[in-house]
């Protein structure tokens, strides 16, 4: 523990919001990923000025600092390394102002994603990015990870819904990036900050765009005898010129686990189930529903279940959203992966995912954003089994490689963090990585904002140099 840093923090905040107890350090020593870290101190600022004071204190003592929202990140982004100072933004959780006519709001970073939507429901609005973790993840974390969710297919991920932010930089200055005006002067610093995983500075206020609630919504479930048929249906829907609000897929193992958990009458014999939601004005919506059903049937859909009321719609979504809870009944641990492939490659890559997991003797379930080609293979295991973690990591690496080789990318929504840092050379050459490092150097010349994430250290590159040239796209 760094006594001088603690003294500075205590002077600037208050003693009860600067914590060094073993329990707290343990709690804040990692995020929802499997990577262990070590927190030196945890503090809970209430204002921008307190965040500023905490950053200044950390930098004065040469201690790295890590912004933390709710800690639900899955790539180790909020995992402190090297006894860093954890700056937890959870107490900065006010919605500061809402403009319901022009549809934006200024919020503090600790506001939970779903709370924001709840607070603007009365205006007929919502915050479009809806990660499955939306009950617990924070807007600050969404911004830092450029998070997505099922409904980002038609509406776009967080980057499309953030207009501006106030940021504390590592030199202690406070800067506003972007603005509620559409084309602020100069470089798009707001755009650069979104997805910077806490390595450019700490967002202390965020201006988010709000989206109109759709006048009408239709949700349907289609089941297929093969995963391929489901995946081909996805491609065919998009190719027909429709962009549904959501287009999600679950494979058999996943459907069975979910059905055993929520009893929604899901088709447990099907190899794959598609959850399709269409939202908008009534005539366009009905036309889309009819075409989607037709496309599904043409690809061999067994049954098509269209939710008849809001309760049934909620039930169908519950199946999708409780997948993580459901799998806990099968094995105690899971590792959730996140890669993106071109939609047309979904059948091929899914085949490879099954083969990889079979080879490593692991159970895999797939529940994912099929419309975006965003795969989420979920490896389930019991970590008490000797040697299982090695197999989990080996399989994970093969899945990432297969996705990139298929013309995809490393991550669709969880980010790079620690998890995929050393895979970055699969997608980017030295000059590409240098350009990303240059962005960071401009925002954080001190190098103390959440270091050792995203950018591989030069030594780690050699590890993946044998990747075939075709993987570069």
């Amino acid at each position: 523990m760094n006594a001088a840093l603690v003294a500075d923090l205590t002077a600037a905040l208050s003693a009860d919001r600067v914590r060094t107890g073993t329990t707290e350090l343990g709690l804040y020593g990692r995020d929802a990923s499997n990577f262990p870290g070590s927190a030196g101190v945890v503090c809970f600022p209430l204002t921008t000025a307190e965040v500023q004071a905490a950053v200044v204190a950390a930098v004065r003592h040469g201690v790295p600092f890590v912004a933390r929202g709710s800690g639900t990140g899955l790539a180790g982004g909020a995992t402190p390394l090297d006894h860093a100072l954890v700056i937890a933004l959870t107490k900065m959780d006010a919605v500061l102002s809402v403009d319901p006519v022009n549809r934006f709001a200024w919020v503090e970073p600790g506001v939970l994603n779903l709370d924001l939507t709840r607070q603007v429901t009365k205006y007929g609005l919502h915050f479009a990015p809806d990660p499955s973790s939306q009950q617990s993840c924070s807007i600050g974390g969404n911004v830092a990870n450029n998070s997505g969710g099922p409904h980002c297919l038609s509406d776009g991920v967080t980057a499309s819904h953030v207009l501006a932010m106030e940021v504390v930089l590592s030199d202690g200055s406070v800067v506003v990036l972007g603005g509620d005006e559409p084309e602020p002067a100069g470089l798009d610093l707001r755009g650069a900050f979104v997805g910077s995983e806490g390595m450019f500075g700490i967002a202390t206020k965020v201006c988010v765009r709000l989206t109109q609630n759709a006048p009408a919504v239709r949700t349907m479930l289609m089941d297929f005898e093969t995963v391929e048929a489901g995946a081909q249906t996805v491609s065919a829907i998009i190719a027909a010129g429709m962009v549904p609000a959501a287009l999600e897929m679950m494979d058999q193992l996943c459907v069975q686990a979910v059905e055993a958990y929520i009893h929604a009458g899901l088709p447990v014999d099907a190899a794959a189930v598609l959850l399709v939601e269409v939202a908008g004005l009534p005539h366009g919506l009905e036309a889309d529903v009819a075409r989607i059903v037709e496309i599904g049937m043409a690809h061999g859909a067994g049954t098509v279940r269209i939710a008849q009321d809001e309760a049934e719609r909620a039930l169908l979504w519950k199946g999708r959203k409780t997948a993580f809870g459901a799998i806990a009944r099968i094995k105690p641990n899971y590792y959730l992966h996140d890669t993106v492939v071109p939609r047309r490659m979904l059948p091929e890559v899914l085949r490879q995912v099954y083969a990889i997991c079979r080879r490593h003797d692991l159970l895999v379930m797939n529940v994912f954003h099929a419309g975006d080609g965003n795969l989420h293979p979920l490896l389930v295991f019991d970590k008490r089994e000797p040697g299982v973690m090695e197999r989990v990591h080996a399989a994970g690496e093969e899945i990432v490689r297969a996705s990139v080789a298929a013309g995809g990318v490393l991550s669709g929504e969880h980010g790079i963090g620690i998890e995929k840092r050393d895979f970055m050379p699969l997608m980017f050459g030295p000059a590409d990585l240098a350009a990303q490092a240059a962005m960071r150097a401009a925002f954080d010349p001190s190098g103390l904002a959440n270091p050792f994430k995203v950018l591989p250290s030069p030594g780690a590159c050699g590890d993946v140099q044998h990747v075939p040239a075709g993987a570069w796209v």
Binding site: C152, V175, L177, P182, G186, A192, G241, G280, G412
Partner: protein, 285 residues
């Protein structure tokens, strides 16, 4: 010309400028000028992406995509590279989103003359920092775009302008669901609606709109970017983009001074990407 030849033309030394068709300002005068490769490499309609050289004409790209019943949310005219480097949307921005959301992957030539890749080929991608967002609107000062992958969008079944007289633009604006454009000049309002023909007709009727031609001629004295809530108090001869905050005004405009720290941050970025200021020298972003 391929990318390697383009990189060689940019080189690693001496001032150099780039030009498309010159519709958005053209090259820096008196400096050696290069042009980006042109041509559509491929259209993947089922993935809703297209790859082309930055020198490709926007109109050519739009025409090629129309054959696939798709389009791209770039303003008409000039080249793709020019549209991205300037980064200004057109009047459909309310519905189509800003230009910065269109660019998925770029390969550009850096100040050192190297080819650099930013972003990736899929619509959803959070692999590394978002260099693409930084390139859009950077006017070539961070690198010269060589080729790009853009996201496309389906063409609507119907697309129609409507109009009505309106003393308050927000009356109509709040009655419409996801309009593509709402323009207002202080007394008259124009709205572009897209989608199923019956939805379009019903929306228009409910908001008191009648079919009309649009968009109106846009005044060219200045193109202002203001908080969208402030447009109701505009005076003079203007057309404002409701819900967006772009104002086309006959009078010139002095942009209010922005955040000082943001300006020094932008300089720090340029110092990193082009310390010698050789790319489009003298150009202010």
């Amino acid at each position: 010309m391929d990318l390697t030849e383009f990189a060689a033309a940019v080189g690693g030394e001496g001032p150099v400028t780039i030009s498309g068709l010159g519709t958005r300002g053209g090259p820096v005068a008196g400096v050696r000028c290069v042009h980006a490769p042109a041509g559509i490499e491929w259209v993947q309609a089922d993935e809703m992406i297209v790859s082309c050289g930055a020198g490709t004409r926007v109109d050519e790209l739009v025409a090629a995509l129309a054959a696939h019943h798709q389009t791209v949310a770039l303003p008409a005219g000039g080249t793709v590279g020019g549209a991205l480097s300037v980064g200004h949307g057109d009047v459909r921005r309310l519905g189509y989103g800003p230009v910065r959301d269109v660019l998925l992957q770029a390969r550009y030539v850096s100040a050192a003359g190297e080819l650099v890749k930013a972003g990736g080929p899929t619509v959803k991608n959070v692999s590394g920092f978002d260099l693409c967002r930084l390139l859009v609107g950077s006017r070539g000062t961070l690198g010269f775009l060589g080729d790009v992958i853009l996201r496309t969008r389906p063409l609507p079944q119907t697309s129609q302008w409507f109009t009505c007289s309106a003393g308050d633009p927000f009356d109509v604006f709040t009655k419409l669901y996801k309009p593509i454009s709402v323009l207002w000049n202080g007394s008259q309002l124009w709205a572009l609606l897209e989608g199923h023909p019956r939805d379009v007709a019903e929306q228009a009727a409910a908001a008191g709109l009648r079919a009309g031609s649009g968009p109106p001629a846009l005044p060219v004295g200045s193109r202002r970017s203001v908080a969208p809530s402030t447009i109701a108090s505009l005076t003079g001869d203007f057309v404002a983009e409701v819900g967006v905050g772009i104002v086309h005004h006959v009078d010139p405009w002095l942009r209010p001074v922005g955040d000082d720290r943001a300006a020094t941050l932008a300089i720090a970025i340029r110092d990193q990407f082009d310390p010698g200021r050789r790319l489009n020298p003298g150009l202010d972003v």
